[in-house]
């Protein structure tokens, strides 16, 4: 039953039709939640007693950082599914995620350094989290570079899936080694943001923004997958039928 649903959903024409119907609803939800989240974060939430108003970048920074890791896992899992069951859609989702994930990682790094300047007094510190985020960006760049380097897109998808799976095994090792490295070398010199339990008015917009980022990712992923499907299946019969309907 479940597998049948998966097979049905992952057939390109079905996916194309249903994602087309889904997109307007998702976009509407995205804009409503974005407006609420931004208003809640920038206006309603009280200023932090230590950091003043500059803490408000948290509403972009933290969701972006969460997304950067979430998307890597999505990429690896869907790549693995594509590798095992040869589902075309899984391959497309896997590579479609890569550049979105890289963008979110970059966004998290940029907002982090913008935040770091007033808080830590430096644009960049070799803090464990910053460093592992930077390494994550490199991993994304490797995935994107490998995909663009291989001409045959199905082979490229499989190569990317292998690399993403290797990366996903490595990420915890990298993360903990970097954390250990940092505590060994610098100890208490890096001012860690000691977070007191967060105020509820601050927390709700943060969670909303996290949801907003997820929806945004989903929208972009659908758009990219639809494009990629059209490109890869350009000889498919269902695309001819689609074009007839449009004309």
């Amino acid at each position: 039953m479940f597998m049948r649903f998966i097979y049905k959903f992952s057939s390109p024409p079905y996916f194309y039709a249903i994602s087309g119907k889904l997109l307007p609803w998702l976009s509407a939800l995205f804009f409503v939640l974005l407006a609420y989240g931004l208003y809640g974060g920038l206006v309603i939430a009280p200023a932090d007693y230590q950091q003043g108003d500059s803490f408000r970048i948290i509403y972009v920074h933290v969701p972006a950082a969460w997304m950067s890791m979430f998307i890597y896992v999505v990429m690896a899992v869907s790549g693995g599914i594509g590798l095992v069951w040869r589902i075309k859609l899984a391959e497309i989702v896997s590579i479609g995620s890569a550049s979105v994930g890289a963008s979110f990682t970059f966004l998290a790094l940029v907002t982090g350094s913008l935040w770091g300047k007033p808080m830590w007094g430096a644009w960049w510190v070799w803090d464990a989290r910053l460093t592992s985020e930077l390494v994550l960006l490199f991993l994304y760049l490797g995935v994107i570079g490998l995909y663009n380097g291989i001409e045959d897109k199905r082979t490229a998808s499989r190569a990317v899936a292998i690399l993403a799976l290797v990366g996903v095994v490595n990420i915890p090792i990298i993360h903990y080694s970097v954390e250990w490295w940092n505590t060994l070398h610098q100890g208490a010199t890096v001012t860690k943001l000691d977070k007191p339990s967060i105020h509820i008015d601050m927390l709700i917009p943060l969670l909303v923004m996290a949801g907003v980022f997820k929806i945004y990712y989903f929208i972009v992923l659908l758009l990219r997958s639809r494009n990629e499907l059209l490109e890869r299946e350009s000889n498919g019969k269902w695309i001819d039928e689609l074009l007839e309907k449009v004309n």
């Binding site: 490199f138 760049l141 082979t155 190569a159 290797v166 080694s177 490295w181």
Partner: protein, 227 residues
Amino acid sequence: MKQSSLFQALGAVIKRDLLLAYRQRAELINPLAFFVMVITLFPLALGAEIALLKRIAPAIIWVAALLASLMSIDNLFRADYDDGSLELMVMTPHPLSVLVLAKVTAHWLVSSVPLLFIAPLMGLMLHMDSDVIGVLLLTLLLGMPVLSLIGGIAVALTLGLRKGGALLAILVLPLYVPILIFAGGAVDAAMSGLPISGHTSMMCAILFLAITLTPLPTAAALKMSLS
């Protein structure tokens, strides 16, 4: 025809690769020369202040070793891919991952082990203490095989590409981060007279993990590159 056992196959591949390397021994010098030259660049750029060099010598040697390994790893499957013997290896009844392990072992023997003999010399030139040099050698001994094993995955992935070189570095270097951190940590601890067993145990763990796991994606990637 008699079937060869798994260990025979492993030994045969290692023996063949070593023989091939011996027949082209002029090429063996390249990674070594590269290693020495990169290290030489640092005092030239930094100035010859002894205290400074002593402090950063392990980092310089490790980064140079890492780059030398990256440079030589590109040849891991290249020749076999070009002359078709890689396809024959895929067709043998033995699991490709085991043959991959044999090839990586041979590569490590040929390109990394010689570095272990030059590294102490480089350490002396950079005014390192002799006991710290010992620790540095231990970390190189534990760490270099991991570099070859991880590098093998990326080489296998980029095998069919015309412009694989720069891509290879991008794929591999982020994965080298943990081993570099633990190696640097061990040498640092030794320099300040602290116990190093924590770092070296982690390096051992990573080494065994890499020996067990990395041949599998490498073999998968090789099959993909050949298909």
